[in-house]
Each structure stands twice: as structure tokens, then as C-alpha cells.
Amino acid sequence: MSEPLTYSDEFLRGILAGVRAIAMVGASPKWTRPSYFAMKYLQEKGYRVIPVNPRAAGQDILGETCHATLAEVPGDFDMVDIFRASDAAGESVDEALALKDNKNIRVIWMQLGVRDDAAAARAEAAGLSVVMDRCPKIEYGRLHAELSWGGFNSGIVSSRRRRVRIL
């Protein structure tokens, strides 16, 4: 087993604050799948999430058309979120690297339990930010004190008052 990965809160905050559109590789139309949970949550937080999955290509998932490959996604996306087994993640990373200038991809994110150190090194060498073995939904919730609502240890200590929008 390799060393557990650590990412600073600042690094993760920077990614989640900068990204607008996310291509989610391995998105599922079934509502009990983890990818569906993550997609729905990220949509609620204002992200555009574009599903990518050859087995669901052409289907509507949460109001978005699912595409077979990253190359078939129309328009730009900042981040690729990979819901695939670790041994298949590298393939998606290379697909993203081939498209990075065309699509303005800046971040590769591999989900909880997904890790490919060699693919991460290739992406970082190409100038992309990489997160592995984390879930953007959980990290967003943790950094915005929502994970704490469920009794989870966020690791965050702060006496600053957060700014909230009151409509």
C-alpha cells in the first residue's frame, strides 16, 4: 500500500472555487449509485456537471445528456472527475491530457478509492492540478461546514465568521 495522500485545505478550496464545469467519467443514471449522489450535490452547489459514460451515452442524467467519451463533450470543461476503477483511471487521464488545450482542462480529480500515481505524475507534468482518492462532494461539504452537520470530523478550526448570502 502506498502512503495516504494529503492535500491542504487551501489547495482543495482553490480547485473547488475555480472550477465551473465538470466532466464526470463513469456517471450513472441509477440514483442509488455514488456518482449520481455526487453529480446531484455538485449541481445544487452551482457546478455544471456533464456525464460521460459509453454505456449511458445519449441518455439524460439529471437534465444533462450523457456522452460516450470526453472528446464528444461539446464546449469547455475545467475538471475531469473520474468514477472508474484505479486500473482504468490512467486511460481517462490520458484522454483528458490529449484534450486539455482544446477543452481548457485544468484539473484531474480521481474519486475516493481511485488512485494511479503514474497517471497523476503525467497530468502534473502537463501542468494540471491532480487530486486522488477524494470525493469533491465530501470535500466541498467538509470545507463549507456541511459535513459537520452529520457529525463528521472536518478537521477545521476557525473563529472567522463565514459570509452567507441571505435572500
Binding site: T32, G151, F152, V157, R160
Partner: protein
């Protein structure tokens, strides 16, 4: 300001801050008491997301409450766990801890030195659920290995046993649990996370009666289950509540969908939903106030207890003292290893003259309160054989360290000289 989780903030900082950021709408710095049952949905889609566990938020205070959640995160942080579930009492916490693990016909192994109330709950009441408890003398870890069956789902011990001076060898017990593919559950009530970081010694789940040292002032009953987040519930087929499709959530598998958050989410979404043993927000608030001073209180509790134990050990009317902090204790080495900051403040001693002298000593105290609690700022005294351990058989009482001559003390934070003087006058009056 935030640090990497690995680096982390110090224990005392987390006692005061973990889980409690300023309330963003009003700026209130102290944790508000959300004396409230239900939470408004933005729309039906938001409600559906909440009910499907797809988003974080509050539905109904039987499941989660903002004040209780602060307490849960604080205890999870102090124990170094992934998440925690607060509930109505320590006894509720024991049911809650086992609920995701046990099916009817399953068994678990528990120390025969547990607090008497736990022995009654495990041995008698759990039979109604067809949960079977095998009690074992866990000082001989081989006894635990021998008691394992294919249906054993957990090993349950206290890090420091109530009433008196017994320390569990957590690392050896953890090795047996690991081999068997089951979690080690540690009741850390008497030690608190300040004295014993039980997850570091191999515990997988920790339970608390927060009524004791965590709240600290004898104001509020409560319990808590903390998950380390490191046990793989899907590694074998022993824990279908967490690894198999959950019918009430349309076939969702908790372990797959929520990873290291599965156990704590299940505890809220299924166990609290259906067992309903929720902690009240006011109790959570009082317990949070207590935890803010935990380290300071535990240091003084331990210092006073050690001094009182030494005083009693040298007292002509005392037959024996069972405190793991004394050189004479057979548990001294285990205490040095697992409780290096102190052996807690609850212990037992025997009065010369047996049962009658013990009862008289308890009744002759002026400063000590004669009551059935521990972990208060006040010094407390009790005769376990006639109270907390009354429901047990004579053999069970002897095994639990609650024989006829035993007096239990919970040493408080009063002036040390006043504590020893009260015991001295009570012992003398009992002997006269």
C-alpha cells in the same frame, strides 16, 4: 485558518473549537441551542435529496440537530475518529454501537469486568433481540480467542473499567479482533480521550457515556458512538447492514456509497431513525461546555485521585485499594502504557470489617455525595454491591470488582485536604 488534517490542531484547541465555528447568520460565537424539531425544505426536490441522503442537511431532530452535531464533531475530533453519533445515554450508545453489526442469533464477546449496568443490559435485555453476549475474563486474551464463533460480530471492553482500577490490554484485543475480521469496541467513558487515545491502540469503535467526565458537572445524561473510519465493513459478509443493499433506501449499499462515512451515516439515518434514542439539544450544549475544560479537569481529577488512593492505602482502617495508578496495582504496567497521563479518578477500596463497615463509611460521609454517578466535579461515594451492581449474581459481582466490602469513589475537584479529611472521619465513625 486551517491546517492539514494529518498535522491537526492540539487536543486543547479542539476541546474548545472543534465543530464550533461562529454561527454565520448572526455571528454568535458560542454554539446556539437549536431547540427545534424540524427544518424547512427549499422545495420538494431539496426534500427528496435530503431523504435520499444525497445532500447534507437537516430534516428532523430525531436524526440530526445542529447543536447535537457540534458535540458529535467535537467528540469525533478529540477521539481522532471519522464521525460520531450522539444519543440519549451511555446505555443507548451501547445499543447504537452494536445495532449496525448484529442480527438476531449473532453474538459478541464482552469483558466480565464491565460496569454492572452494562452486564445487565448485555446479558439480560439484549436476549430479547436475540443478541447473545459471551462474557470473558479478558485479562487472559486466550479466553477471548476461545470464545469466538462464526457468528461473533464484535469484542467489547472498557479501556478503564468501572468501578475499579482494571485496564484492558487494547493492543492484544485488537489483534484478536483483526484476525477474526470484527471490530473492537472500547468504552472510553472512564478514561476520556484525554487520558486514552483508544483508536491509536487499535479500537475500531468507541462508545461514551457523556454523562460522566465529558459533561463533567452531573447536569446531562448522554451517550456517543465514535467511528474510527478505518474498519472495512465490506471486507467480509459479516456486516450486511452496512455492506448489503438496504431495502429502506432502495437497495443502496452504505459501505459502497459512503466509504469511511458509512457507519456514522447509518447510525443517524437508520439507527436513530428507528431506535429514536436521540440526545436533546440542551444536553448537547451542556456537554459542549463541559468538554471545553476537559483536560484541566482530568489533570486535577487524576492528581486528586492518586493522592486519595495513597492516603487510603496507608490508612489503618482500609484493607486494600484498587487504583491502577498505584505501584501496588497489578494493572500498573498496562496503565503506564495506555493511560500515561493518569489512571482516572474512579476506583474502589475495601474497608476493614467488610460489608457493614463499608455501608457505614458511605453513610458517614459529609462532603462525598452518596449517589450512583461518576465523573462529577463533586466527590461521589457508593457501595456497588447494594446499588449499581445489585442485579448481578454474587460471582458476577466478584468478577466485576464489586464484592460485599467494596466502596467506590469518584474523586472530584474539591480541596484535596477536605476530601481526605472527610474519608478519614467517615472511616473512623464507621469503626467506632
Amino acid at each position: 485558518m486551517s491546517k492539514d488534517r494529518k498535522e491537526g490542531f492540539g487536543f486543547e484547541t479542539r476541546m474548545i473549537h472543534a465543530g464550533s465555528q461562529p454561527e454565520p447568520v448572526t455571528g454568535a460565537r458560542q454554539t446556539p441551542i437549536h431547540q427545534n424539531t424540524s427544518y424547512v425544505f427549499h422545495d420538494t426536490d431539496h426534500a427528496a435529496s435530503l431523504f435520499n441522503l444525497q445532500t447534507f442537511g437537516f430534516i428532523y431532530s430525531r436524526l440530526t440537530n445542529p447543536t447535537v452535531a457540534v458535540l458529535e464533531e467535537r467528540i469525533a475530533s478529540l477521539e481522532g475518529g471519522r464521525g460520531a453519533t450522539a444519543c440519549a445515554s451511555g446505555h443507548a450508545a451501547q445499543i447504537m454501537a452494536l445495532f449496525p453489526l448484529m442480527d438476531p442469533g449473532d453474538d459478541f464477546i464482552a469483558s466480565n469486568r464491565l460496569y454492572g449496568g452494562s452486564i445487565t443490559q448485555f446479558g439480560k435485555t439484549f436476549k430479547k433481540f436475540d443478541w447473545r453476549c459471551t462474557f470473558a475474563d479478558v485479562d487472559e486474551t486466550e479466553n477471548v480467542r476461545r470464545a469466538l464463533t462464526p457468528k461473533t460480530k464484535a469484542i467489547f471492553v472498557e479501556s478503564l473499567a468501572n468501578p475499579g482500577g482494571v485496564v484492558s490490554d487494547l493492543e492484544s484485543l485488537s489483534a484478536i479482533a483483526r484476525e477474526a475480521g470484527i471490530p473492537l469496541i472500547v468504552d472510553n467513558t472512564m478514561a476520556t480521550p484525554y487520558l486514552c487515545p483508544a483508536f491509536q491502540y487499535g479500537a475500531d469503535l468507541i462508545v461514551h457515556s457523556t454523562t460522566k467526565f465529558l459533561s463533567g458537572n452531573g447536569t446531562s445524561t448522554g451517550g456517543c458512538v465514535v467511528d474510527s473510519g478505518t474498519f472495512d465493513w465490506a471486507a467480509n459478509d459479516k456486516f450486511p447492514s452496512l455492506s448489503a443493499p438496504e431495502p429502506a433506501y432502495h437497495g443502496l449499499r452504505f459501505a459502497e456509497s459512503f466509504g469511511d462515512m458509512a457507519y456514522t451515516l447509518h447510525s443517524h439515518a437508520v439507527a436513530l431513525r428507528d431506535l429514536g434514542a436521540t440526545m436533546a439539544p440542551m444536553n448537547a450544549f451542556q456537554t459542549l461546555l463541559g468538554i471545553e475544560t476537559l483536560s484541566l479537569r482530568m489533570e486535577r481529577h487524576c492528581a486528586n485521585a492518586l493522592a486519595v488512593a495513597r492516603f487510603l492505602e496507608n490508612h489503618e482502617l482500609v484493607a486494600w485499594v484498587s487504583y491502577a495508578g498505584l505501584e501496588s496495582s497489578p494493572y500498573r504496567d498496562l496503565a503506564k502504557k495506555y493511560l500515561p497521563k493518569g489512571a482516572g479518578s474512579v476506583f474502589t477500596f475495601g474497608v476493614k470489617g467488610g460489608y457493614e463497615s463499608g455501608v457505614k463509611t458511605v453513610e458517614a460521609c459529609e462532603l462525598f455525595s452518596h449517589l450512583a454517578n461518576i465523573g462529577d466535579t463533586r466527590s461521589l461515594i457508593l457501595h456497588p454491591a447494594s446499588t449499581t451492581h445489585r442485579q448481578l449474581t454474587e460471582e458476577q459481582r466478584a468478577a466485576a470488582g464489586a464484592g460485599p466490602d467494596v466502596v467506590r469513589l469518584s474523586i472530584g475537584l474539591e480541596t484535596l485536604d477536605d476530601i481526605t479529611s472527610d474519608l478519614d472521619q467517615a472511616l473512623r465513625r464507621a469503626a467506632s
